[in-house]
Every structure is written in C-alpha cells, then in structure tokens.
C-alpha cells in the first residue's frame, strides 16, 4: 500500500463521515412506520454499492479505495444493530422483526436498483 492510496482512503472517508453526520442530524422522516435516519444512510450506501458492483470494482484500484474509504465510513452496521438492541431492550419484539425485515428488503431493493441502472446504461 503506497502513500497515494492512503491519501485517497483518508480523503474519501472524511467525505463519507461528514455526509453521514449531516444526514443523521438533518433528515427525520415518518412515512407510516417510521424510517430512522440511520436506515436512510444504509439504503443510500447499498445503492452506491450496487453501482460499484455493476462496474466491477475489484479490478479497478480507485473504485476499490472508494469502496473501502467512502462506503465503509458512510454506512454503519453498528448503529443498525444498536437500533435492534434498543427495541430488544424495550421488549418490542414485533417492531424488532418488522424493522429488521424492512431494512434488509429495502436495502436489497436499492442495491439491485443501482445494479440494474448501470447494467441498463452500459
């Protein structure tokens, strides 16, 4: 690993962190069942991931660094588990299962949206 790739990782992770904190602080949406802002971050991240997978990012150095730096810092798995944990602690098991299914299904939908968008444009 050379100096320029470290610089790209640092720069893109800074960008991802600031974007995530901005979204987590500023967007609060309630559409029927409430979609927390951490979930919005994860949906956008899986959309970008679909685009990257469709561009075959493992063969491209810059896209791989973008995946490690930007998407790794932008999406958060621990906040997702923390939301499930809060529901678990309050003994709201139905809400827990609903939230869990909703996040997985929607992030896979967004993933394939990005994936087929690039496949279609190619």
């Amino acid at each position: 690993m050379d100096l320029s790739s470290i610089c790209i990782i640092l720069l893109s992770s800074t960008f991802g962190l600031i974007l995530r904190i901005f979204i987590q602080n500023n967007f609060k949406k309630n559409i029927g069942f409430d979609i927390q802002n951490t979930s919005i971050v994860n949906f956008i991240a899986s959309f970008f991931l679909g685009i990257l997978v469709s561009l075959n990012f493992l063969n491209n150095q810059i896209l791989l660094l973008f995946y490690i730096g930007f998407l790794g810092c932008f999406s958060t798995f621990s906040s997702f588990i923390y939301q499930l944990f809060l529901l678990f602690k309050k003994r709201k098991f139905l809400r827990l299962v609903l939230h869990y299914i909703e996040v997985i299904v929607l992030s896979f939908l967004f993933f394939y949206l990005g994936y087929f968008l690039i496949q279609y444009l190619k």
């Binding site: 990782i9 640092l10 997978v53 999406s75 798995f77 944990f85």
Partner: protein
C-alpha cells in the same frame, strides 16, 4: 469547541478505517463492533466521549456495505437456503453479542 469535536471524530474515524483494513474479515469486525458498543453503552462516560466513539470510531469500524456485499456474493451463487440462513444467523448473533457486552458491563459496575 465545535472544531475540536469534529477533529476528534475525524481522528477516531481514520483509526477505525485502518483497523478495518488491517483485520479484513467482515464477520469478526461486526462481532467486535457489536460487543464493544454494548459494553460502552452502560458505562459512565461523558456524552461527548460516547458520541466520538459511536459516530466516529464504531460506525467507521463496522460497515453495512461490506455486509450487503457478502450477502450479494452468496445470493449470486444461487443458493437461496444458505442465503436465508446466513443473514438471519449473522444478525441474531450480532444482537446477542451486543446484549452480552451490555450484560457484562452491568455486572462489572
């Protein structure tokens, strides 16, 4: 005060990113992340330290996109039953690891 907080969060974020690069195994990373998040929640740290740790270090240490990419690779092989079992198993194990960390830190104090 505001600038200082942002600099601390950024430094924690870089540290998390390089730890993630160094370990390079998504399952172990998510387990470690959930355990320590559960451990730190109930300790008596200040609000600022918790914010730096949660939204800087642990959020950059664990990554949801790595998890989705792992699921995509399984899904792409066409093995639907394995896919279904794996993603349920990963989330349930992580949830119980977080609860375990929470339980340990409450026992200690």
């Amino acid at each position: 005060m505001k600038i200082k907080k942002i600099v601390y969060i950024l430094l924690a974020c870089y540290l998390g990113t390089f730890f993630r690069l160094y370990i390079d195994n998504n399952f172990i990373i998510s387990l470690l992340g959930s355990f320590f998040v559960g451990f730190i929640i109930s300790t008596k740290l200040s609000h600022l330290t918790k914010k730096i740790l949660f939204s800087g270090f642990f959020s950059c240490f664990t990554s949801f996109s790595g998890f989705i990419y792992f699921l995509y690779k399984i899904f792409h092989q066409g093995d639907l039953i394995k896919f279904f079992i794996l993603f349920n198993l990963i989330i349930i194990i992580n949830l119980f690891t977080m609860y375990f960390g929470y339980w340990i830190s409450r026992k200690m104090t």
